[in-house]
Each structure stands twice: as structure tokens, then as C-alpha cells.
């Protein structure tokens, strides 16, 4: 069993109109090399689900995303994702904007093969008004409370970035927070991971080492070596987010033809050229992890 593949190979398995979950959180551990490969491909009409960072802004700016499903889209240090903001204000992208916890519950429902999970989240807010497809449910028990039935967010594919992987799809995701990558993989028909490091085996005699294993390999369809593949987002403990690059990206949203210029300069030439264009691998590895 060998799940190694290329960025091109993984994106070739995606189809127009798919619902795609993207792992990580805001500007943290996003599978950006795969996102850039999607940007270079003819894929279109995607629905993108996640804890939004630059992937949502880029896919919206490029017209690849028909719809975004999120609680927030943020670069953290730049609080509002500039290309997401622009696409929204120009009415170019449909959205399902829901509580971030509803995203969690929707993914969990999909992974657990139930049509919905009950939650009070959304009650009393415009989440219900702005997403008329959301329905409520009455508790079948004596309390009779009315709750929101958060529908399963089934993913055709999930895209994740991990720290280390072997060819079987055993993965390790270093860093203080595993986010919801495992849940996303379990919600998806197929999951593709980019990895900082591809190894023959992640095996260890130390049980503690395996606490960074976020998801079972049966959920992993493809493993793609992509060192620096999370740039410009952070990949613990390899490198922090690239604030200077995020600023360049953000500034492009305010310029006429800014996205196209960003795409031509950084995305179109391919991953090897990308690493060089943003300063080279050594410069990326030297990016400090954020101190909050």
C-alpha cells in the first residue's frame, strides 16, 4: 500500500462542484500547496468548508469557490481576510455563515453518519434567518425544548497539512492544537494530506510521540510531500506564519487587478518557484512561531 502522490495527481481526483473541507484554523496549518494547485487547475464551482483563513480568500478571489461555509474567515494578525471581504462586498460568493461550533457539529454529524446533531447554537440569532435551510427540532423528551438541528456537512474531499507522514497514511501533526483535522477527514469521502516530511515509517517506541496522530489512516487517500506547503500559514514547529507575505497578499485586495498580479507572481509559476519567490526554504524555516 503506497498512498504517495503528487499535488497534480491529487487535484486531478477532484471534480467541479465538489464540497471540500480544508483543515487548520485561520492562518494555522493550512494545506496551501494544494490550494495553490487548485488555483492552477480548471476546477470550479467548489463549496469550501472550514475554519477560514487565506484558502477561502484565495479560492473566492479566483472565482473557484461558489460557496463558503464558515464561522469566520481571518488571518488573525490581519483580522479580516481581505479577499474574502472583497468577494463578499461585491456579492461574488454565496455563504453559509454559521457559528464556528456549528461547523464542528456539522462535521461531527457527517463523520458519525447521522443527518444532524441537535444544538442550541444559532437560536436567537440571524444565523437562522440568513440560512433558511437550517431547521429546528423539538426534544422528544419531557423538556420539549426547541433546538437547532445542525445538518451533517458531508465533504467530498478534505485537504489537510501534516508535519510527518508515511506512505501508508500514518500521520503526525505537531503543534499545540490539532484543530479539527481528524474530524474533517472522518467527514470526507477522501482525504489528501500534504506533509512537511515524508518518511518510511512514523513508528516509535514512545507512546507519547503518537499523541500527535490526529486521524486513522483508513481515512487518508493520498499523501503528498510538500515541505513548506503550509506557507504563508504557520506549521508547528517548523515555521510561523509569514506576516510580510500576508501583508503583500492583503494589499493586493486593494489594488486594481491585485489578485491577478498576486496569482501571476506567486501561484502560476508552481511550487518550487513559489518557495523561491517568498524568500526560499531557509527564510521560511526561520519564520518565528507567533507569541500571543
Amino acid at each position: 500500500m503506497n498512498k504517495e502522490m503528487t499535488l497534480e495527481g491529487a487535484v486531478a481526483e477532484l471534480r467541479d462542484g465538489m464540497t471540500i473541507g480544508v483543515g487548520g484554523w485561520g492562518p494555522r496549518r493550512k494545506p496551501m500547496a494544494l490550494i495553490r494547485e487548485i488555483l492552477r487547475s480548471p476546477l470550479k464551482d467548489l463549496t469550501v468548508v472550514g475554519f477560514g483563513g487565506p484558502e477561502m480568500g484565495m479560492l473566492a478571489a479566483a472565482g473557484k469557490a461558489k460557496k463558503l461555509i464558515y464561522g469566520f474567515v481571518s488571518l488573525d494578525v490581519i483580522p479580516i481576510e481581505p479577499h474574502f471581504r472583497k468577494a463578499r462586498q461585491e456579492g461574488r460568493v454565496e455563504v453559509m455563515e454559521i457559528g464556528e461550533g456549528m461547523v464542528v457539529l456539522g462535521l461531527e454529524a457527517a463523520g458519525h453518519n447521522v443527518p444532524f446533531l441537535p444544538t442550541p447554537i444559532g437560536l436567537g440569532t440571524d444565523v437562522l434567518k440568513n440560512n433558511p435551510e437550517l431547521r429546528t427540532i423539538t426534544s422528544p423528551y419531557d423538556d420539549g425544548e426547541v433546538l437547532v438541528a445542525m445538518p451533517a456537512l458531508k465533504l467530498d474531499a478534505a485537504l489537510l497539512h501534516v508535519s510527518r507522514s508515511d506512505r501508508l497514511g500514518n500521520t503526525l501533526s505537531f503543534g499545540p492544537d490539532p484543530y479539527f483535522d481528524g474530524m474533517m477527514a472522518r467527514a470526507a469521502t477522501r482525504t489528501y494530506v500534504t506533509t512537511e516530511e515524508l518518511v518510511d515509517s512514523i513508528a516509535s517506541k514512545n507512546r507519547e510521540d503518537l499523541k500527535d496522530n490526529a486521524v486513522e489512516r483508513c481515512f487518508i487517500s493520498g499523501v503528498i510531500p510538500a515541505p513548506m506547503g503550509a506557507h504563508p500559514t504557520a506549521a508547528h514547529y517548523g515555521y510561523g506564519w509569514d506576516l510580510e507575505h500576508l501583508k503583500t497578499y492583503a494589499a493586493s485586495a486593494a489594488e486594481d487587478g491585485g489578485w491577478q498580479a498576486y496569482y501571476d507572481r506567486f501561484v502560476a509559476p508552481g511550487e518550487a518557484a513559489y518557495i523561491e519567490a517568498v524568500g526560499g526554504a531557509d527564510a521560511i524555516r526561520a519564520l518565528p512561531l507567533p507569541v500571543l
Binding site: 442550541p120 447554537i121 436567537g124 440569532t125
Partner: protein, 267 residues
């Protein structure tokens, strides 16, 4: 407990925000933004030592972590709080968050999502509703507003109700509006809550030199005077020392416009 004679308005506001966490027991307190974060740390290091908090990312600490570059200070961690567990605690109700919405209304509803009448094409897209729907229906929430004005405290309803409040029209029949728990709203002018009759907003205290009329003029909805409305207490010398330790780079001086003194000079 010597009352400080000289302090800035931001330091007074920090002390007032800290009061929001009094009697919270062992709740996880989360202050989003520099003033709420320093306030939570101040509460823990003075009158509310049982409070739980994180390092601003995902580790629990007993000693609140100062804001910004820490030099030699290395935090010690006492627990792990990745987002998965943040949600578990949020949904359990054992949390009190202090946040800064962009708009707030008479029903204690709040907005950080978007501005403008058309949600499909907002005039200004902001963060998204983020955790507001889940926070507001699960646990106590307080607010810090640096610029008390009718732009923030709007006359009608907020453009997007991200944080649930007490407007019955937004609640489906059979849903439990009593899940909403609003703590305090601390602004650059006053402290108020929503514990008046029928959840009406009522002013608990005015900052030194601020009149009730000034607060009302800068609020888009009617405010009541709490029966024992007084003047907001400034920080003590001990509290000021803690504030300086938790904010060594004086980020607090940049939060309120012009960094005014805590006691207004007579006009």
C-alpha cells in the same frame, strides 16, 4: 488597598472590566483583546484567584501571561485547551467571555459579522459570526466597548444578530431565551448591564466626570439608572502594579482614543 490618585482611563476601565469576573468561581474566563485580557488577569491575581484562563492560545495557566514579547518570562502550563476542548467548556456553560462587538442593541444582541441591510452583499464584511452564536447561548458574556457612541449602541437592531439577546422576535417558539446570560458592558464612559425590568439596559456606574445625560446622548436606546448608580471606582495602587506587570509594553495606552486620564479634568 490605597486608591491610586493618578491613572489613565484605560486603567480605570481595566479595573471595571475585572469587576465583571467577580464571583465567577472557577469559570474559564476569556478576555478577547488587550483590555479584557489584562482585566481577567487582574481579577485572578487579586480578588478571584480561582478563575481559570489560558495563555491566549491553548494552554491553561495559573499565572496570567503578560501581553506581547515576554523576554525571559517562560509561562508554566497547568492544562491543555485545544479548540476542541474550548468548545466542550463553552457548551458546558462554565465559561465567561469578554468580547468587543462592533454593534450592540437594546436587546443585548451584538454583531461582529457584517454591516449593511443586505447580508448577501454586505456593505462591510467583518469577521463572520464566529463564536458569538455558541458563546451567547452557552455561557455568560460581558462586553468591552472602547468608543461609546450611537454607532456602536444602535437605535434599532444590530445589522446581523451574531450574539443572541433578549429580542423575542428572533426566538422560535419553544426555544429557551433564558439560556442567554449577559454580564456587564464596560465602555469608555460607564458600566451598564441588562438587568433592568424586562432586561432593560441600566447604568451601574458612571466614570469620574461623566454625566448620565452624556452617556444617554451617545446611546441609541434608552438607558435606565440602576437604583444604586454610582461612580466607577479607579484602580488601587496594588491593582496598578498588577496592570503594569500584565501589560509591560503599555498596549493599554493605545486602546482608548487619546489615552485620556482616568479622572476628567474640569472643563
Amino acid at each position: 488597598m490605597t486608591q491610586a490618585e493618578t491613572f489613565t482611563l484605560s486603567e480605570l476601565v481595566i479595573a471595571a472590566c475585572a469587576e465583571a469576573f467577580r464571583d465567577d468561581g472557577e469559570l474559564l474566563v476569556t478576555g478577547i483583546g488587550p483590555i479584557p485580557r489584562v482585566a481577567a488577569g487582574l481579577a485572578k491575581l487579586t480578588f478571584a484567584p480561582e478563575l481559570a484562563m489560558t495563555d491566549g492560545e491553548c494552554m491553561l495557566v495559573e499565572d496570567p501571561v503578560p501581553i506581547g514579547p515576554r523576554g525571559d518570562h517562560e509561562p508554566e502550563f497547568t492544562g491543555w485547551m485545544p479548540f476542541r476542548r474550548v468548545f466542550d467548556v463553552v457548551w458546558s456553560g462554565r465559561r465567561h467571555a469578554m468580547v468587543t462587538p462592533v454593534q450592540m442593541d437594546r436587546w443585548a444582541q451584538a454583531n461582529i459579522s457584517a454591516l449593511g441591510p443586505d447580508f448577501t452583499r454586505p456593505k462591510v464584511q467583518m469577521l463572520g459570526v464566529r463564536g458569538f452564536p455558541g458563546n451567547s447561548i452557552s455561557h455568560k458574556n460581558s462586553m468591552f466597548i472602547p468608543n461609546h457612541s450611537t454607532r456602536t449602541f444602535v437605535e434599532g437592531e444590530v445589522d446581523v444578530v451574531a450574539s443572541a439577546g433578549y429580542n423575542p422576535k428572533n426566538w422560535p417558539e419553544g426555544a429557551d431565551m433564558n439560556r442567554v446570560k449577559i454580564g456587564r458592558v464596560v465602555t469608555n464612559l460607564c458600566v451598564f448591564d441588562f438587568r433592568g425590568p424586562d432586561h432593560a439596559a441600566q447604568v451601574l456606574s458612571l466614570h469620574p466626570g461623566v454625566s448620565f445625560d452624556e452617556v444617554q446622548d451617545n446611546t441609541g436606546f434608552e438607558l435606565l439608572k440602576a437604583p444604586d448608580m454610582g461612580v466607577t471606582a479607579g484602580p488601587t495602587e496594588d491593582q496598578l502594579a498588577v496592570i503594569r506587570r500584565l501589560d509591560p509594553h503599555d498596549v493599554r495606552s493605545k486602546v482608548l482614543k487619546g489615552n485620556p486620564p482616568g479622572i476628567r479634568p474640569a472643563a
